[in-house]
Structures are given as structure tokens and as C-alpha cells.
């Protein structure tokens, strides 16, 4: 069975990418994968740690150990700390989704559009897990 680790926002969160991650978790679970989420902040995920901080990266690295694939929902301009980079480099398949920061001043219609699109984006992500060069993280 494939073990997937997702690093990113997870509900409950103001970040609309949390809905994408939740939809992705549902899709992957329905497909028979084991999925573990490490959310950047405390959430409904069993683990949390911000991969761009030293302590968070160590936590992320612990969960990534033995993963078959990893998906990291990253904020543009924020590099993963070395421990997380090394751990990601050891995962066979890594997908990185870079966002130019979610619109923190987003109005409800913005958030609604994100939420409406979340299941589609999640299906697309689940279908095409591509390999990213760890050096580019």
C-alpha cells in the first residue's frame, strides 16, 4: 500500500488550501492509499510542524521517513529548512505545489471559489504526482 505524506494547511484553517488538502486526503484514501498529514499549524492533522522552521522541519522529517510519496503545499519564497529538504530528497516521489501566499485579506467570494475548486484540484493532484528535484525545494 502506498504511504503518502502531505505537508500543508489542513482544516480547520482560514487558508483555503486546507480544503484542497482535505479533498486530496479523501481522494487518496478512497483510492486505497495510507495518507498522513503534517499541517503547518495545529489542526485536525495528527502532526504539525512548519517545514521552513528548524523545529518544524525535524518533525516533518520524522513523518516523511518511509513515505512513498510526498506532497508539499509551499508558500513561494519560503524554503524548507535543511532537515525537511534532506527528508524530502529521500522520498521517491515528491510533488510541490507553490502558492504565492493565499490571499490573507480574501473576501468570502474568494474563499468560496477556492473551496468550490478544491475537489477538482485535489483529483488532478492525485492523478499526476510528478517528480520534483529536491534541490529545487
Amino acid at each position: 500500500m502506498t504511504r503518502t505524506v502531505i505537508v500543508g494547511p489542513y482544516p480547520p484553517t482560514a487558508d483555503p488550501r486546507g480544503d484542497v488538502v482535505l479533498a486530496l486526503v479523501r481522494t487518496l484514501r478512497a483510492g486505497g492509499s495510507t495518507v498522513e498529514v503534517v499541517s503547518t499549524d495545529p489542526s485536525a492533522a495528527p502532526h504539525h510542524g512548519d517545514p521552513t522552521t528548524r523545529a518544524g522541519a525535524i518533525r516533518v522529517a520524522q513523518v516523511l521517513r518511509g513515505a512513498d510519496r510526498a506532497l508539499w503545499f509551499a508558500d513561494a519564497g519560503r524554503r524548507a529548512a535543511p532537515a525537511a529538504r534532506r527528508a524530502l530528497a529521500r522520498v521517491p516521489v515528491v510533488e510541490v505545489q507553490v502558492s504565492v501566499g493565499w490571499p490573507r485579506g480574501a473576501t468570502s467570494p474568494h474563499l468560496e471559489r477556492w473551496r468550490a475548486g478544491a475537489p477538482t484540484l485535489a483529483r488532478s493532484l492525485a492523478a499526476r504526482v510528478r517528480v520534483a528535484k529536491p534541490g529545487g525545494l
Binding site: P12, T13, A14, R29, D41, P42, S43, A44, R104
Partner: protein
């Protein structure tokens, strides 16, 4: 194709659950879940291990147990952060009337007791439930859990107009749930005001147990009470209006020269001024038996809380035939008094003095009897569970056999 009106499992999701927990929402969920199970419905309670939000996050053991009523109780490990800085700072800001950004609101919410295992369980099993009932609105379990299967979600918010009720983080649950159950019409009004796009909703009320018997003289003898007394039974904390009650009471009895004692019962610390010694008596926490005795013995029962979504205390007082005095700032209390044609409300020492004079007057017993009739008509568990079953059948029609 016969209908199976009792088919389908119902899940209740409170943040904490236990026979030893005191609190309106906790008792409501426990009694409603047990009551439905005793009627033959398949009922689960899905909760964490916490007993106290701050001190005992994993008081109860994890696992599945079955209650005498037939309810299956699933407990998942509760998690709390060590520092709780976001929670504490958020609470301070809310208490000071400052607003929190949406980000801060979610951090504040996630810095309370979380139950990730419960969330995972819902992801895998929500589809096995006919309905999932979340209560109250305030806690992480409701905010997170209601996102999993909104089409099966019933939110029982136990809402009153308080600063947290206005936080954006709760809007989704009020808008996207299959439906909401309110305890009173004023509670529904607050929700409609805060959320114009409110999901379908119904006022179901809350049930209260009718005490089998009460012994007024036993309570008086145990605590050495001989004259008329007003009883406050509930948590002693600022939000419940207890400190203001002491001031209002002392001013009222001085104003009207009334020989009335105030008896305080319930958990929490209370600072009784030296000058009030003998006028205010603290009897501490009472078990259900003693509480019924106290209600029966009281000349009047007072509800000083400005924030109520139902007021179980008023119902228990009326069931004992007591005269009820309630804070006029609570729309719920006013609503009950108007509907019952019983009880009086007050908004300061003078009105409280007038209310106390009525409580020691000749009509107080008739007033209490009208209150009792109101509770028996509207809020016994059989009446409330009939409403619950009826609305479940409308919102979650039984599957064809």
C-alpha cells in the same frame, strides 16, 4: 417498500462527555443521546478524553464502551498544545472587546482541545451515520467535525449573544450544515441576526428530568436555614453573573429591609464580603438529589446570567414549584417568563427588591405552579425527543427497506 423510520445511526459529537460533567450543553447531549437510544435508535457518542479544558485533557481512557442506555461511547485521544499562547491571547483580546483576524481566530480555535483521531474517524465513517449532531458551536470538535459531512451535520449551537458568537470561523457551520437545532426562539433569533444565510433550522427545546420526590425540610435542616431564602444553583463565574448578583442582592435586601438569605450552590469560587456573612450562604456543589431538595425548599430561585441559550435552572426551579427571578438582560429568560406566565425579571437592585417581595408574598406558589405546568407541557424529555425524532425524519428521511 416499507419505511424504517428508526433506521440509521445517529452520532453525537461533544468536545467532552461524562456522567460527572456539569454544564448545560454536556447534560443536554448526554440525556438526548441516552433518551434516543432508550427509544430504540442506534446512537453513538464520539468524543475525546478531556474532562477539564485546561487541566485534564486525557482524564478518561480511550476506546469504545457501551452505556446502560445502549449508547456506544467512542473516546479518542485529546490533544492540547503546551503553551496555549494563541488561546490565552485570543481570550484576552475577546474579553477586551478587540477583534481577531480570521487567521488569529483559527489559531485560537486550534489552540484549544483538539481530537485529530475523531476527525480521521469521521473521514472514514461519516457516511455510515444518518445524522451527526455537533454541540455546542464553540468548540474545536464542532468547527472541525462539521466540515467532514455537512450534508449529515446537525449543529446544536447552544448559542447566546457573546463576543465569540461573532467570529467568522463559525460562519461555515451555521451556513452549510444540513440543519440547526435551537433550544429557544430567542437563540434562533440571535443566529438569524448573526448569519442571514442560516441553514434550515428548528426550535426543539431541551428536556429536563422531572424529579421523583424532593424533601425541602431535609435541605433546610442540613444547612441550618430557617427563614426565606433565594437559591442560586449553577457555576460561580463572571459569565454567569454571580458577582453582580451578590452586589444586587445586598443592595436589594437593604433597600426593602427583607429578611431573605441568598444561598449559593454549585462549582467555582465565590468571594462573599465579610459584611454579608449570614446573609449569603455558600453550600458548595450539590448532587442531583440535594439540588432537587434545595429547589423545593427555596422561597425563590434566581437566574442572574445575562447569557443563556436555554436556562435549565429555570426549568428545574419551576418543576419544584419555586418562584423564579431572572435577569432581564437574558432574552431567553424573558421569553420563558412570558410564555409560562410565571416568574419575574429584574434589571437592578430596585427591581430585584420588588421581585423578592413578590417571592415572599401569597401568590408565589400559584406562580410556581404555572411555571411547572409550562415545563411539563414543553420540556419533559418525551416531549422534546418526539420533536427530535420528527425533525430527523424530515431532514434525513428513512431509507426504503
Amino acid at each position: 417498500m416499507a419505511l424504517r423510520p428508526r433506521a440509521g445511526r445517529i452520532g453525537f459529537v461533544p468536545v467532552r462527555f461524562g456522567d460527572d460533567l456539569v454544564g448545560g450543553a454536556e447534560m443536554l447531549v448526554r440525556e438526548m443521546a441516552d433518551g434516543l437510544a432508550e427509544r430504540g435508535l442506534d446512537v453513538d457518542v464520539l468524543t475525546g478524553c478531556t474532562r477539564d479544558h485546561f487541566r485534564e485533557p486525557n482524564h478518561y481512557p480511550t476506546g469504545v464502551t457501551e452505556r446502560r442506555s445502549g449508547v456506544r461511547l467512542h473516546r479518542f485521544p485529546s490533544a492540547v498544545s503546551l503553551h496555549r499562547a494563541d488561546r490565552v491571547l485570543g481570550n484576552r483580546a475577546l474579553a477586551a472587546g478587540r477583534t481577531l483576524t480570521v487567521d488569529e481566530q483559527f489559531r485560537w480555535c486550534n489552540d484549544d482541545v483538539r481530537i485529530p483521531g475523531l476527525f480521521d474517524y469521521l473521514l472514514d465513517h461519516a457516511h455510515e451515520y444518518r445524522a451527526l449532531v455537533f454541540a455546542p458551536y464553540l468548540y474545536w470538535t464542532t468547527v472541525a467535525g462539521s466540515l467532514v459531512a455537512p450534508e449529515r451535520t446537525v449543529l446544536m449551537p447552544c448559542l447566546h449573544d457573546e463576543p465569540t458568537a461573532r467570529l467568522d470561523l463559525y460562519a461555515r457551520g451555521f451556513r452549510e450544515s444540513r440543519g440547526l437545532w435551537f433550544l429557544t426562539e430567542p437563540e434562533a433569533r440571535v443566529a438569524r441576526c448573526l448569519h442571514p444565510d442560516l441553514a434550515p433550522h428548528a426550535v426543539i427545546g431541551s428536556g429536563v428530568e422531572v424529579p421523583a420526590a424532593a424533601d425541602a425540610s431535609r435541605f433546610r435542616a442540613r444547612h441550618g436555614l430557617t427563614g426565606p431564602f433565594v437559591l442560586y444553583a449553577g457555576r460561580r463565574e463572571a459569565g454567569k453573573g454571580t458577582s453582580r448578583l451578590l452586589d444586587d442582592f445586598l443592595a436589594a435586601v437593604a433597600h426593602a429591609s427583607l429578611p431573605v438569605t441568598l444561598v449559593l450552590a454549585g462549582p467555582g469560587a465565590v468571594a462573599i464580603p465579610d459584611a454579608a456573612a449570614g446573609r449569603i450562604v455558600d453550600v458548595g456543589v450539590l448532587d442531583a438529589h440535594d439540588r432537587d431538595d434545595a429547589m423545593a425548599a427555596a422561597t425563590a430561585v434566581i437566574q442572574p446570567s445575562p447569557y443563556e441559550s436555554f436556562s435549565r435552572t429555570m426549568m428545574e426551579a419551576w418543576l419544584a414549584g419555586a418562584f423564579v427571578i431572572a435577569n432581564r438582560a437574558s432574552e431567553v429568560s424573558v421569553w420563558h417568563c412570558e410564555r409560562a406566565g410565571a416568574g419575574v425579571t429584574y434589571d437592578g437592585p430596585e427591581a430585584l427588591a420588588a421581585a423578592l417581595q413578590r417571592a415572599v408574598g401569597p401568590d408565589a406558589r400559584d406562580d410556581g405552579a404555572r411555571g411547572r405546568a409550562y415545563v411539563l407541557r414543553e420540556y419533559t424529555w418525551p416531549v422534546v425527543l418526539d420533536r427530535v425524532e420528527a425533525i430527523l425524519d424530515v431532514w434525513f428521511p428513512a431509507e426504503s427497506a
